[in-house]
Amino acid sequence: MTNLTVWVLLMPLLGFIILGLIGRAMSRRGILAVALGASGLAFLFTVISFLSMLGTTPASARFSDQVFYTWINSGVTVGVAPLTISFGLLFDPLSAIMLMVVTGVGFLIHIYSAGYMEDDPGFWRFFCYMNFFIFAMVLLVSADNFLFLLIGWGLVGLASFLLIGFWYTRRTAVAAAQKALVINVIGDFGLMIAIFLIFKHYGVLNYFTNSNGNIGVFNQVTAGGIPTISTTIICLLLFLACTAKSAQLPLYMWLPDAMEGPTPVSALIHAATMVTAGVYLVARANPLFQVSPTALIVVAITGGITALFAASIAVFQLDIKRVLAYSTISQLGYMFMGEGAHNYSGGIFLLTEHAFFKALLFLAAGAVIHSLGGEQDMREMGGLRYRLKITFWTFLIGALAISGIPPLAGFWSKDDILSSLLANATSGGGRVFYLLWGIGILTAGLTAFYMFRLFFGIFAGGYRGTGSAEHAQEEEEDDIKHGHQPRSDYEINESPAIMTVPMIILAVLSIVGGFVGSFALFGDLSWHPFATFLNPVFTNPNWTNVPVQVPVDTLSIGWLSTGLSVGLSLIGILGAWTLYRNGFFYKENKNPFYQLVLHKYYVDEFFILVLIRPVLWMGRTATRLLERDVLDGGSRSIGRVFIGASGLLRRIQTGYVRNYALAILIGALLIIVYYAVRG
């Protein structure tokens, strides 16, 4: 099996280094050549490795763990084995899928960005950060031990921070970047403590037994012997990291604000790839989660609550990117629900399909924003279906896909998760799964509703804008009236091909991407290539004491779940059509419940009140009392003592030679007297 993971990792790193060092002096063409070359080559190497993996049989041979360098060799046995930490890259079906998503979607968004960021003065900086992100994400998904996972985890957080605050002259962007960093660090802290505990209990950090002879964490888990309570704590801490990175309750607040970054960043980092790192981590650590049912239930419940909560907020948002952001949070919750129901491959499946259609939706939203000169408010849009034809169609495909309308991608992945939730509920997984299944169905309906509210808001009715675009339109009509040729830049124009082509590719993937899902619904039990491909990661014959609950899909249950979710989605779309088919007209609504949801349940306000205000107050008080009075005052009084003392001493320094001579004389006399007296 050809494994080029290390080259996949090196290419974006190289691009980042080149752009970071000399990008400022390079021409735009040169910058594009480096950035697109790096991400394109990374994708190419991934595809080669992926195809080689597909050609490898049997499936259990699809595993490669290359150790490049032993970083730490402590030689001290703590716990079970001496700690050895190596830089190694793991290439198995799970990381292969993740690499395909990261580099593939990443490459498409690099191309799109070439058009979107064309006029930005920070062109080189943008691509430098983007390449850096790809590098960090590749490291995250292909590291073969928890320490390098943590490094990648931290670096993607840094890339996210840099790109959210990309327009650093905007106060809101800088504030959003700081918020994202602070909340992510809470998660990083959880991951760190989880890694400490893993080291304490297992003595190693590598996932699987490697060529250094360290017995891997997961191998030890499957062999048993570690108390479940420790595993549960480790899993909960790992999941804390996931909630921060993947924007789940209670640490989701940073993601909507992250929309302050450029739209390609929102598409790549805050929708398609980085935020799915948590989903990846739970899937990667599935042996741990499998032995700790408590942690898995927590994952499922958190995911379920988040899915519904975020979807309800998305219904009333007015900023198109924020609607998509809350939709992302909701979909991530869906993925965690699936993983919580032991359906890891379902979670990864939705992750992959979501990367397609959510990246598409963001890119289409970016194209809308781009053509309106930066307008993001739905109230200022409308009637764009004629002017932005390609964007219109691709957005429609994305919206249908995310709403779970068959046969588009979202249908297969959402259905997979819903049916496994229901199967868990019926086969004794606990009553909570009925509730989660209900939440899933309800969320599906809500998703369809808010997506089509957004869709009609942008494209239906007439143009409602009052900004420069409308002004331009008037001038355009004026020109035509007076018989002039209208200037082309007055119009709201479709984006250039460099932006629309990636959207079209993603739209095609959103249509056909779902067909690798399970066809069990139609009685064909043999066709589920995606799950089969991931199977070696999620079921291991060596696992003896793992109580794997395989969800039992029976046909009638499957159809019940599918019928309900598709039906509710259609009702959602119909509802949006009834309300908004003539365009989105905003009315002030004083209903307290409406206000509650519109203000995102006042979560930000709550945290400002209970957390930020007190901390700021403490800081200011500390500045006043501790810094000014105690520390500054203290050091100043030390200074004053010395000034006073030296003021006295320097009187001696008269500058008259005679005084010095006298001092020498007196000194000499004293010495003589001393010896004379002492005898």
Partner: protein
């Protein structure tokens, strides 16, 4: 009353004291230099006296050394005085207190 070591040392001490007093109270640098020479030569006198009474030439050796150093010191000192005189037209040591702290 024979002329023994004590008398030499007394003379030496008197000369030395005269020198010290001169250094401390005079304001003309040339006089101060002369006073320093007096101190040095008072020491030389005691060296010679000890040398004679202890039957050792070590003291005389030191005298040569002191003479040499004194000559060098005078050369440097006079040069400094001349250059001060050139810049200030005045060599009163009481005015030379720019190093006052």
């Amino acid at each position: 009353m024979s002329l023994n070591l004590t008398w030499y040392l007394i003379v030496s001490a008197i000369i030395f004291t005269v020198g010290v007093t001169g250094v401390l109270i005079r304001r003309n640098p040339l006089i101060i230099f002369m006073s320093i020479e007096l101190m040095l030569n008072a020491v030389n006198l005691s060296f010679i006296a000890f040398s004679h009474y202890l039957n050792s030439v070590d003291g005389q050796m030191f005298v040569f050394l002191v003479l040499t150093v004194a000559a060098a010191e005078v050369v440097v000192g006079l040069a400094i005085i001349v250059s001060i005189f050139r810049t200030r037209r005045d060599i009163d040591v009481d005015d030379m207190n720019v190093l006052r702290g």
